[in-house]
Amino acid sequence: MSVTPPAPAPETQEAYSLRAGIQERAGGVLIPLAATFLAFLIGGLVVLLTGHNPITAYRAIFEGAGFNWPYQWLTGQETRESARDLEQTLRSATPLILAALAVAFAFRCGLFNIGGQGQYWVGFIFALLVGTHLEGLSRPLHVGLCIVAGIVGGALWGGIAGFLRATVGAHEVITTIMLNWIAIYGGKWLFELNGPLQGAAPSLPRSAIIFDSSTLWIIWSPYLHAGFLIALAALVVYFIILNRTTLGYEVRAVGFNAEAARYSGIGVRKNYFLALAISGAFAGLAGTVDLLGVKQAVDQSDFDTNFVAFTAIAVALLGRNKAVGIFFAGLLFAALSTGTSSRNLNPEVFEPALATDLATMIQALVIFFVGAELLIVYIWRSRRYLRLGRSTAEEPAPL
């Protein structure tokens, strides 16, 4: 090009990149926080409009989630309920975090895995098969085998979408949606009356119960099982795979810029397949720990009511696909669900039936706001922020 923009002086450039870095990181925290705040605000508005007090409602949900336990514990006024509430919150955060990792891992490869629910169920069923067979194994071995089976099942289901994306270019959003429903109805078929995997009770559409040797250890009685530790470990594994292995390096390169990855000799298709298979493995693990730690069997009706992996999409989006973010987002959404459950929420303060739906609405709003950074940016002030976004965009200035 004959006319070129002048290069900024070195000093200002140094300062600029520093500022850009800080804003990048700050935006990474601020936008989810702002989105959450806005979502709760609008949710509160709905509560207000339908004739309830939002502040007492939110407070009841907060306490229902057991978040007042640390305060009580510190001041020595610990109560049995709040401890149990908190245990339940952590317990329901477990599959949320794991399934969110399934969304996040694919996302880092530039793919949108909406099929966590299907992968969750296939993992669940694979683990169930192992858990209901192989009687007499030692507990660590049996649990270990179940986990392996669940991971394989989830990876298989995710891998189908990955394979189709890599070979014929079928869009993963469509294929994973279809695979979800195939898994859901397939599961209902397996455990229906006279279904292939129906359990011993002839009149119940229900699976057999896994052997005690394949149940997870309880680490905080009565509710919290070792699956929570597995979820924490998975967060670490996720971080390590992405940031400390060549595989994760390739996945991120493809996710950020598939074209540049191709130019440097990285196999883009191979990574699409691997990323969705690994994604599926995380979701399969979510199903497995739910089985081994909580359910121990599955009712046919569970397939109609359990949508934990859908909620996990919101968790991943809010957590910005970062390990730490997913942990906190998972905790938040778990708290919303336990805090609004009919057992934990005082119906005189706020009806649980309403609160459950309120939680769903808040999740939806969070997704809207996190998804539309532009909106937050509009609402914030900053035209300056917009300009920064543009200067770092991929397109060069028009000529």
Binding site: W181, W189, D357, T360, A364, L374
Partner: protein, 388 residues
């Protein structure tokens, strides 16, 4: 060249026909009871399908192969079942039942076509159906009139679609994320309002249902199917109108242009944003009508999450029907027939309805995998448009 192409098509058409024959011969009134015949005929269909495939006719050839397999399997199955069971399954009520299952799907699928043809992915159909179902009930109770119920449903669906539009068109959020949020929002909102307005699920007041054709216009009671809801008949009209609007009017031409190549549309002075908003809102209105059929058109009540994934099936029908109203309608009929068949099959022949429920999704998966010809979406679908 063209003639050869026609011949190949004819070959695959015969293949499809043979596959169907393999099945039909085993059903009443023919009721053939040797395994040889369906297998032989099925093999013939398979051969024709493969021949067509080798000549490059992927779409119909693949279809013929699929039908060959299904027909043979169906034939073999039917032979293991006694005749009375078969007759109990294949009753005259099956058609009406098929239409009832297909109607909500067809409305939502037409909506989906409008939105996606304009370049906006709409996986929020499920949510838009759900608000339609709820506000249809609410409007009908509030006013005592089913007309107002339908209008409220359409209004609510349009508004929800408008939210999807603002986020995915102006704010350039990921259209899939936005559509997903629409579904969650609808689930939460309708559940909340339902529990809030009708505590314990008790509905005060009467839900006015949409009348059937004969209830509304008594003199038409000789028309076959006059006992079907007015919304079913309206659905036929909607499909026809969707086709006409999309392919026979300037508006449709512009919608398709915006979905294929928005910049080209922009350079001839078409407002990309305006067209997309209009299409997305239309999709919400139509999907909501489908939802309203579920509540005030058919069951006469609302339950939480009553759409139960029908929006996703409608989406599957859109893809399966290659973004064309006619074919998408055929897809909804096919899916609807599957569901209609599932009930008597479960009752009479003990075939799991869950297994049959898998079929629409499996067929769509196969379709997008390119086995039965490739489903190619509008070129610009999913991409936010940035004005120059």
């Amino acid at each position: 060249m063209i003639d050869l192409h026609r011949n190949v098509r004819a070959v695959s058409a015969v293949g499809i026909g043979l596959g169907l024959v393999a099945f039909l011969l085993t059903l009443p009134p023919f009721t053939i009871r040797t395994t040889v015949i369906p297998i032989v005929i099925g093999l013939g269909a398979l051969a024709l399908g493969l021949a067509a495939l080798s000549q490059g006719e992927r779409r119909l050839g693949g279809f013929a192969i699929a039908i060959a397999f299904l027909g043979t399997l169906g034939g073999l199955w039917a032979q293991g079942v006694d005749q009375t069971t078969l007759e109990a399954v294949l009753t005259g009520g099956l058609l009406a039942s098929t239409l009832r299952f297909a109607t909500p799907l067809a409305y939502a699928a037409m909506g989906g076509i409008f939105s996606e043809r304009s370049g906006v992915v709409n996986i929020g159909l499920e949510g838009m159906m759900l608000v339609g179902a709820f506000f249809g009930v609410w409007g009908s109770i509030w006013s005592g009139s089913w007309v107002v119920g339908l209008l409220m449903a359409m209004l609510s669906g349009g508004l929800l679609a408008l939210i999807h539009g603002v986020f995915s068109i102006h704010l350039r959020a990921d259209q899939i994320v936005s559509g997903f949020a629409v579904n969650l929002l609808a689930l939460g909102l309708t559940g909340y309002l339902y529990s809030s307005i009708y505590p314990d699920g008790t509905v005060k007041g009467q839900i006015k249902r949409v009348p059937s054709l004969e209830q509304l216009l008594g003199f038409l009671d000789w028309v076959p199917g006059a006992d079907l809801s007015l919304l079913v008949w309206l659905m036929f009209l909607t499909v026809l109108l969707s086709y006409i609007v999309l392919f026979k009017t300037p508006i449709g031409l512009r919608i398709r242009a915006v979905g294929e190549h928005p910049r080209a549309a922009d350079t001839v002075g078409i407002s990309v944003y305006r067209v997309r908003y209009a299409a997305v809102v239309t999709s919400g209105v139509l999907a909501a009508l489908g939802g309203a059929f579920l509540s005030i058109g058919f069951t006469g009540r609302f339950t939480e999450n009553m759409t139960g994934g029908r929006g996703y099936i409608a989406l599957a029908a859109v893809i399966f029907g290659k973004w064309r109203p006619g074919w998408a309608f055929v897809a909804t009929l096919l899916f609807g027939f599957g569901f209609a068949l599932a009930i008597p099959l479960q009752r009479e022949a003990d075939i799991s309805s869950n297994l049959i429920s898998i079929l629409p999704y499996l067929l769509t998966l196969i379709a997008v995998a390119g086995v039965i010809g490739r489903s190619i979406p509008p070129a610009a679908v999913g991409r936010p448009y940035v004005k120059q």
